[in-house]
Symmetry: C2
Subunit: 452 residues, 2 copies
Amino acid sequence: MANPQIIIVPEIRDLVRREQWDELRDILAEIHAADIAEIIQTIDDDNEKVNVFKNLDDDKAVEVFEHIEGDDRSAILPLLPNREQKNILNEMSPDERADFFDEITAEEVDQYTGLLNKGAKEETRLLASYPPDSAGGIMTTDFVTLSEDMTVAQALKRIREDAPDAEQIYSLYVVNKQDKLVGIVTLKDIILANPNRKIGRMMDHKVMSVNAESDQEEVASLFKKYDLHALPVVDQYGTLIGIITFDDIIDVIGEEDTEDMYRFGGVKETELTYFQTSSSKWARQRITWLLLLVVTGFISGFILERYEEALTTVVMLAFFIPVLMDSGGNAGTQAATVIVRGLATGEIAMNQALRVLRKEVIIALMVGVALAILTALRAVIMHSDYSLAITVAIAMLATVTIAKIAGAMLPILFKKLGFDPAIMSGPFITTIVDIFALILYFELARLFLGIA
Amino acid sequence: MANPQIIIVPEIRDLVRREQWDELRDILAEIHAADIAEIIQTIDDDNEKVNVFKNLDDDKAVEVFEHIEGDDRSAILPLLPNREQKNILNEMSPDERADFFDEITAEEVDQYTGLLNKGAKEETRLLASYPPDSAGGIMTTDFVTLSEDMTVAQALKRIREDAPDAEQIYSLYVVNKQDKLVGIVTLKDIILANPNRKIGRMMDHKVMSVNAESDQEEVASLFKKYDLHALPVVDQYGTLIGIITFDDIIDVIGEEDTEDMYRFGGVKETELTYFQTSSSKWARQRITWLLLLVVTGFISGFILERYEEALTTVVMLAFFIPVLMDSGGNAGTQAATVIVRGLATGEIAMNQALRVLRKEVIIALMVGVALAILTALRAVIMHSDYSLAITVAIAMLATVTIAKIAGAMLPILFKKLGFDPAIMSGPFITTIVDIFALILYFELARLFLGIA
């Protein structure tokens, strides 16, 4: 999508250069923090970036900083005046701060921790104790709690007091004296209720929560299934320690899907964006699989060597190698795509492997017969050789079938073994199928073409 | 994820068979609508499904119906008593009803429209007038509007009246006398404000909205970028006609990512789940690409035929065909994966094609040199042939470079031409790269191995 805000960039840079601070401030006040963050990231000059920052009011500066992506944050912060650094670090939402601390060096963490006030320090320590892709790693500690014995009027007073800092006030969690999560009320319920009603009488006791150690992918699937707005996070004692809101989950879903697609495409993911990742880093992220697959590709070479006799006798055999290999790879990739995605969205459960196998074999026979006929026709038309036609037709049908079975079963097998099924990437399945396809092809050739 | 609710299924079916309605009702009242929907979908017997439905209270029946997926909905509804059909159809949220009407036959639409009351009929007609993947197609018409001249107290009264039916009451939209969208206030603002304050004085005039015709993918990226909770939808005159909420968007993101992955894997998407889609339908969804790719695969065969002489003279050349083809396919798929995803998430903009090209060429040279050395070593070690080694090394480096360029540039080109970049699937790029790789390989062989 084209970004209409980009056209403001020259105007803003111009104001910065001419040091027209008042005018700059007026323009920036009108622009959404997410857009200012984007604008700052298109400016190359550090000094100019800082001058944009200095002309934001305190709250907006925090929001803009939260929206900046990747290492630009760690580049900008040290350039800001100490007072502004303190404001940003203390006022940013605890989960964003924890993410930022994950991105920077240990020395920077030490230095910035020194600028935090006591509460912020504790929050950061708590969040840092959980892996970044766990519920504890993505939760925030800015939330409102109510107690059972409050009246609706008292609850509303508490909400009003806590609202300015809270990440959201639309789902409200009720805790007992030991801070254990015991219920949930929505702001909607509170607005509709009699002011004298006790929270304990109207709350829903069946409140869903996740343990702080839960994987973020699991959390995302709860949000999807139950259309949640927010989800409380508890520790092993059931104590409410944080909440996760839907906007964190939208990011998680994107991240998890990117991770799946990268793995499936045979690329290791990086935490930075495409351009922020250096070319040599990208080369490293891609070379592992390529090297591994070249080595397995050599196996295909060895197989051809073993059948050198056959190849020399009937050189026509070579002409069908590309189409067999491509069809096997394609058919396998198709099956793997559908199965890997089905496992990720929960559409396909682990105990349905047999049903998947049956279905894929039927599909393979349907598409395989069509491809086999087409390939056989080519052999007959171009080479008028019926034995060759039978050989390539059977080889094609068998290759497609093996490919569909491998493409469907390997991801399920990998998931059973506790790995990410997306590791069973298209390239990997293609290479495995190639090996089987070639052996099969030449054995069939020996059988039907009478080669030794 | 394993589903703990599944263990209740035998108990529920047992209660249904023994016609223990009171006990069944008590159990169902304790279970979340999303889980009941899942349970109903695991029951094969239609009669049992209906009996579960009959023992839900009216509101819960609507919620459960909304959570049921695919054609199970259209199978269950006709089996329910007329009164229950009416309740479900009239009370379900307008966007869910529109989705349901999209799934069923024209006769069924006619029949069920007869059961709708006037308001529901109009809502359905409005939503049906937009494509299902547009903002108008995913919006709901159940929302609360405020006017500028209301006081906070009056607004709160309006919210209390409308809340029971509204999809959400946390973002409230302000319209003028002509129903044009003029501002936004949050429930948080209203709770914190003085009861006598005018809405027009406190509302934010800069309210983001989308046109009903906008693509759902565009809407999703606004939610992501601005961390939105809800987004108003306007028609071409700026009249507020609906809202989209975050839970719709979570579904959209999942759908769009599935669509991208399927296209990229060379599979046409279906609207139903893996198991709901019949094997013959799956075969049709996959055969188009396979047939097309078989035909392009034949081109590779023709190329080999053209170089029959070379192949017959130096049969060793055949041994390196699989590894060259696989490496080209893999390298191209890697680049395409990263670029297709980058275009989808907005990380890569259309005007950055040249930067991408430069980066991919550098990456290609880095990984290409490594793969070339490895392949040359194999030629030297196994065949002690230095000319062959030079041939395969240069062929490998060139193939990887062409593959990375094609993998990166074809998705961008396709997007420029107005197509979905994910159509440039892994299998398609593999097949294209194969053709170039083979020609190049044999031309190099002629050059270095002195074949005619």
